[in-house]
C-alpha cells in the first residue's frame, strides 16, 4: 500500500468517491438520532456486557467452547491466522464452491486468498462485497463495503460480468440482477463461511443482517464455518441480542436488523455441519494492554460521523478502517503498521465517542498510543509550533511577526492560495497579552470572583478575546483575576503524541474560584485529563448558563448569525445549547448552517501535519457558513477561529467571524454593526 501522505493526497483528489460516501452515510446520520431515544439504556448495557466479557475472557471462552460442543458444533480455538486458515482448509472438500458472508476477521486473516490459492472458488454474497469482488477493490466501510462506488460503475461492472448489456443504472434493477446471478451459486455451494456478531458463553452463535445472504450461507451448504474473533464472546444470549440491536441502531438507525439468526445447534433434520473457529491472533494479549478498542461491535457508526473518513474513505486505515481500526492494528500488529495505516490521522474531534454504541474513546486512546512512540514523526513546522507555545517570549515576538504579515496582506494572499501548512497564517488581535496578576472588578451587584485561564496561543494572539471574555464576566457581576503564571494546558502536545514540556504551575490559581476558559480545546483537555484544576475549569458559556446570564440591557436587534460549535465543546464537553441560548439572549438571530456539526479541521496542530486535508475541511466549513446567508459568524475556540477565517479568506468570502465572547461583549457595549 502506498505511503500514508501519498494515500491521503490521492484520496483527497477523488471527489466522486467522497460524494458517494456522503450520499451513503447522510441518511444514516439523519436516522440514527431519531432511532436512539427509544433505547436509552442500551449503550450502557452493551458497554458493561463487553467490559465484563473481556474481563473474564479466558473463562468465558472455555465455557463457550464446552457449551458449543455440547450443542453439536465443532469448535476450534486458533492461536493465530495461520492456524485458523489451516483448520478450515483441512476440513473442506477439494475444489469447493464457497459462499461467504461479510466477515472483517476473514479479511484480516486473509482467508479468501488462502482458499483461492488452495483451489477453491470463493463468492462474496453480501451485495457490497460482491461488487468489490467483481471490481477488484478493497472494502470501503465495515457495513457498506461498496460505499465509494458510483451507480454507473456498478452498472458497467454488472453489464459486463453478468452479461446483461441492457441493465439500467437503477438500484432496483441492479439489485434484481445480482439476485438472479447469485441465487444459483447459493444453491450449488458446498461450503459456507460467515462471521458472527456474538458468540455466547452459553453456546450460541448470533448473526444479524439485512440481505438474507447470511441465512443462506448458514443453511444451504453441507459445511458451515463460523469465523469469529475471541473478543466476540459475551456472557449470555441477552447480551448478544443487545449487541446486535446496538449494532443495528447505531450502525444504520434501524431498531433491529432485518434478520437475526441465533444458532444453538445445527439443524436436526437439515442444514450444514457447523465448525466454530474462534481466532485469537494476539487479542488475548492485546486486551491486557488496552481492552477498550476490542469492545468494538463493528457497526461502523464512528466511520459515519468521522470527518477524516468522510474525506479519505478507505485510505484512513489498512485492513481495519478508521481510528478504531488503526488502534486495533497498533495493539495487534505494532506501531509501524499503525503509523502507516494512519495513527496520526485522527483529528481528536471526539464526535465518534457519543456515536459509539460501546462509548469507545478512540481519540483519547489514540493519543495514549501515540505517546508510546519512540520518536514523534511530526513535521518540522509542527515541532516548531509546539516549542513556540511553551515560550512566552517567542510567542510575544510571533505576534508582532504575524501582525506584520496581516498588515502587509501576506496572510490574505497565503489564505487565498490555501494548500500548504505555512498557508495557515493566524491573524492576531491588536491587544497585548493579559497583564499577569491583574484584577478586573465586576459590575454591581457583585456575584463572585473567577479566574481566567490565559493559556498560550490564546493569550499571545487573541488577547482581545480575553478582554471581551473579561468584559462579559464583569457585566455579569464577576470579578476576574488573571493568574501570575500563564502556561499551555498540554492539549496540543498530547494530540501530537508528545510529552508536554515543563510542569505547569497549577497553584497559580489559588483558592477555589472557578477557572473560566474561552478555548474549547483547552477546556476539553483540562476536564478530561486528570489534573489539579479539573473540577474547577469551566467553559465561559457553560458558566454563564449555570450562574444565570444577565442579558445585555440593550440586546442587538436580531442580527443574523451563523454559529459553529467547536467539536471540543459539542462532543468533548457536551456543551451544545448553552452558546446558542446566550447568543439568542444577547439578541442575535441564529440561522441554520448546513452540516453544522462538521469539524473545521483545525484540531490542535493537525492543520500543520495534514494541511491539504485540513484546508479541504476549512473551505467546506467556510462554504457551509456562507450557505447560511448570514454575514456574521462566530465560534468558541481559537483553533476554529483561525482555521475558519483562513477558509473564509480562501474562498474570498466577506463573512466576518468572531469569538462568541467578542459578540457577547459587543452586545453589552451596544456597538454591533
Amino acid at each position: 500500500m502506498p505511503d500514508l501522505h501519498d494515500r491521503v493526497r490521492r484520496a483527497l483528489l477523488d471527489d466522486t468517491a467522497r460524494e458517494a460516501r456522503r450520499h451513503g452515510t447522510q441518511p444514516i446520520r439523519e436516522r440514527v438520532p431519531r432511532a436512539l431515544p427509544a433505547y436509552p439504556e442500551l449503550q450502557s448495557r452493551v458497554r458493561r456486557s463487553k467490559e465484563r466479557a473481556l474481563d473474564s475472557l479466558e473463562e468465558l471462552l472455555d465455557q463457550a467452547g464446552a457449551r458449543l460442543m455440547s450443542h453439536g458444533f465443532h469448535v476450534y480455538r486458533a492461536v493465530d491466522a495461520a492456524a485458523a486458515r489451516d483448520y478450515i482448509l483441512s476440513h473442506m472438500p477439494q475444489s469447493s464452491l464457497v459462499i461467504k458472508s461479510k466477515s472483517n476477521l476473514a479479511k484480516e486473516i486473509h482467508l479468501p486468498d488462502a482458499l483461492r490459492e488452495a483451489g477453491h472458488r470463493v463468492i462474496e454474497t453480501d451485495l457490497g462485497d460482491h461488487i468489490n469482488q467483481l471490481m477488484g477493490r478493497q472494502s470501503g466501510h465495515v457495513l457498506m463495503p461498496a460505499i465509494g462506488v458510483t451507480i454507473e460503475e456498478i452498472q458497467k461492472t454488472f453489464q459486463e460480468q453478468f452479461h446483461e448489456p441492457d441493465l439500467k443504472p437503477r438500484p432496483e434493477d441492479l439489485v434484481a440482477s445480482a439476485r438472479r446471478h447469485l441465487r444459483p451459486l447459493l444453491e450449488e455451494a458446498g461450503v459456507g463461511i460467515s462471521g458472527a456478531n456474538a458468540v455466547t458463553a452459553t453456546g450460541e452463535i448470533v448473526l444479524m443482517e439485512n440481505e438474507g445472504n447470511i441465512r443462506a450461507v448458514t443453511s444451504l451448504p453441507d459445511v458451515h464455518f463460523v469465523v469469529a474473533a475471541v473478543t466476540k464472546v459475551v456472557e449470555s444470549l441477552e447480551d448478544a441480542l443487545s449487541v446486535v440491536q446496538a449494532a443495528s441502531l447505531y450502525g444504520i438507525g434501524q431498531d433491529f436488523g432485518n434478520y437475526c439468526t441465533v444458532l444453538s445447534g445445527p439443524g436436526r433434520d437439515i442444514g450444514p455441519d457447523v465448525h466454530v473457529v474462534l481466532v485469537d491472533d494476539g487479542r488475548v494479549k492485546a486486551i491486557l494492554d488496552e481492552p477498550e478498542p476490542f469492545y468494538c461491535i463493528n457497526c461502523g457508526s464512528c466511520l459515519n460521523v468521522c470527518p477524516v473518513y468522510a474525506e479519505l474513505g478507505e485510505a484512513y486505515g489498512g485492513e481495519r478502517l478508521g481510528g478504531i481500526g488503526v488502534m486495533q492494528t497498533f495493539l495487534l500488529n505494532g506501531e509501524e503498521r499503525a503509523l502507516h495505516d494512519g495513527l496520526d490521522l485522527c483529528l481528536g474531534c471526539q464526535r465518534c465517542v457519543p456515536a459509539c454504541p460501546v462509548k469507545i474513546d478512540t481519540p483519547a486512546i489514540t493519543n495514549r498510543l501515540k505517546a508510546r512512540r519512540r520518536t514523534i514523526p511530526t513535521g518540522p513546522l509542527r515541532q516548531r509550533f509546539l516549542r513556540l507555545v511553551h515560550s512566552p517570549v517567542d510567542l510575544k515576538r510571533s505576534r508582532w511577526a504575524l501582525s506584520a504579515a496581516a498588515t502587509l496582506g501576506i496572510a490574505a494572499r497565503w489564505h487565498r492560495r490555501g494548500r500548504k501548512a505555512e498557508d495557515f497564517i493566524p491573524v492576531p488581535t491588536s491587544h497585548q497579552p493579559l497583564p499577569a496578576g491583574r484584577v478586573y472588578p465586576g459590575a454591581e451587584p457583585i456575584r463572585g470572583s473567577v479566574w481566567i485561564f490565559p493559556g498560550c496561543v490564546m493569550d499571545a494572539w487573541y488577547s482581545g478575546v480575553h478582554q471581551d471574555t473579561i468584559r462579559v464576566l464583569n457585566a455579569n457581576g464577576y470579578t476576574v483575576r488573571v493568574p501570575q503564571q500563564k502556561f499551555c494546558c498540554g492539549a496540543l502536545d498530547a494530540h501530537a503524541g508528545a510529552t508536554p514540556l515543563g510542569s505547569p504551575s497549577w497553584d497559580t490559581f489559588s483558592g477555589n474560584d472557578p477557572i473560566i476558559l474561552n478555548s474549547a480545546g483547552c477546556g476539553a483537555y483540562l476536564t478530561q485529563h486528570p489534573n489539579p484544576l479539573s473540577d474547577r475549569v469551566e467553559d465561559l458559556t457553560a458558566f454563564l448558563t449555570r450562574v444565570g446570564f444577565r442579558a445585555p440591557p440593550k440586546p442587538v436587534s436580531g442580527t443574523p448569525l451563523a454559529y459553529h460549535n467547536p467539536c471540543h465543546l459539542a462532543y468533548a464537553q457536551q456543551i451544545a445549547e448553552e452558546p446558542r441560548q446566550l447568543l439568542a439572549m444577547a439578541g442575535y438571530h441564529l440561522v441554520d448552517v448546513p452540516a453544522g456539526e462538521a469539524c473545521c479541521g483545525s484540531a490542535g496542530t493537525y492543520n500543520l501535519e495534514f494541511p491539504e486535508l485540513a484546508w479541504n475541511l476549512a473551505r467546506r466549513k467556510a462554504a457551509d457558513l456562507g450557505a447560511s446567508g448570514a454575514a456574521l459568524a462566530c465560534t468558541a475556540n481559537p483553533g476554529c477561529l483561525m482555521q475558519i477565517r483562513a477558509g473564509l479568506e480562501s474562498l474570498g468570502s466577506n463573512i466576518r467571524l468572531e469569538h462568541i465572547a467578542t459578540l457577547l461583549a459587543h452586545a453589552y457595549a451596544g456597538d454591533v454593526s
Binding site: Q26, I151, A176, R179, E211, G212, R215, N258, Y259
Partner: protein, 181 residues
C-alpha cells in the same frame, strides 16, 4: 396482550392480514396467489397444519418434499412462534432447520401468527421461550421485513437474497409449544 399492537409490522414492510375464519383465510389466500403465482411450500408445523390442512396443490415440508422443493417454491408458509411488537419482528423457533429454509428461499413468506403470540420485545420473547424448557430451540430466526440492501449508493432496495415480500396473517390464538418443528 393488552396495549400491544401490530402497527410496527406494517412499518417494516410486512403486510398484515387479520384472519378470523376459514373464509377470511381463503380470501387472503386468493389475494396472495394473484400476485405470487407459483409453487407453494408449507412447513408442517402445528399452526400451518390447522389452517392449510384442506388446501390442495401445496407441498408440505418435510412430508412431501425437502430442499429442492423449497428452492423451487414461490410462496412459503410457516407458523410464527412469537411476534415482537416494538420492532415488528416475527420469531421462528425450531429444531429441524426447515423453517429457516422455507422462510428465506422463497419470493414471498407468509407467517401465520396466533394472536396470543404477540409479546413486547425480544427480552420478553426470550423469557417465553425459556419457560419450562431446559434448552433453547436449535435455531431462532428473527424476521423484521422483506430482505433488503442499501449497498448501492445508500438507497434502500427490497428483495436482495431473501423474500421480496413478507406477510403476517394474524390468526386466532393457538396454545401449545412455541417450537415449530
Amino acid at each position: 396482550m393488552t396495549g400491544l399492537g401490530w402497527e410496527s409490522f406494517a412499518k417494516k414492510g410486512i403486510t398484515v392480514r387479520h384472519i378470523d375464519s376459514p373464509v377470511d383465510f381463503l380470501k387472503a389466500w386468493n389475494v396472495l396467489l394473484e400476485t405470487h403465482f407459483g409453487p407453494v411450500a408449507v412447513l408442517n408445523d402445528p399452526i400451518s397444519a390447522t389452517w392449510l390442512d384442506l388446501y390442495e396443490n401445496i407441498c408440505w415440508i418435510p412430508d412431501d418434499g425437502g430442499r429442492a422443493e423449497i428452492l423451487r417454491a414461490q410462496v412459503g408458509f410457516t407458523g410464527a412462534s412469537l411476534a415482537l411488537a416494538d420492532t415488528g419482528t416475527l420469531v421462528l423457533a425450531e429444531d429441524s432447520g426447515f423453517a429457516r429454509l422455507v422462510s428465506n428461499m422463497v419470493s414471498c413468506h407468509v407467517a401465520l401468527v396466533p394472536e396470543n403470540r404477540l409479546v413486547a420485545n425480544w427480552q420478553t420473547a426470550l423469557q417465553r421461550l425459556d419457560q419450562g424448557r431446559s434448552h433453547r430451540p436449535r435455531i431462532l430466526s428473527f424476521i423484521s421485513g422483506p430482505s433488503q440492501t442499501a449497498d448501492i449508493q445508500g438507497q434502500l432496495v427490497r428483495g436482495m437474497h431473501g423474500p421480496t415480500a413478507v406477510e403476517a396473517w394474524i390468526v386466532p390464538a393457538v396454545e401449545g409449544p412455541l417450537t415449530l418443528t
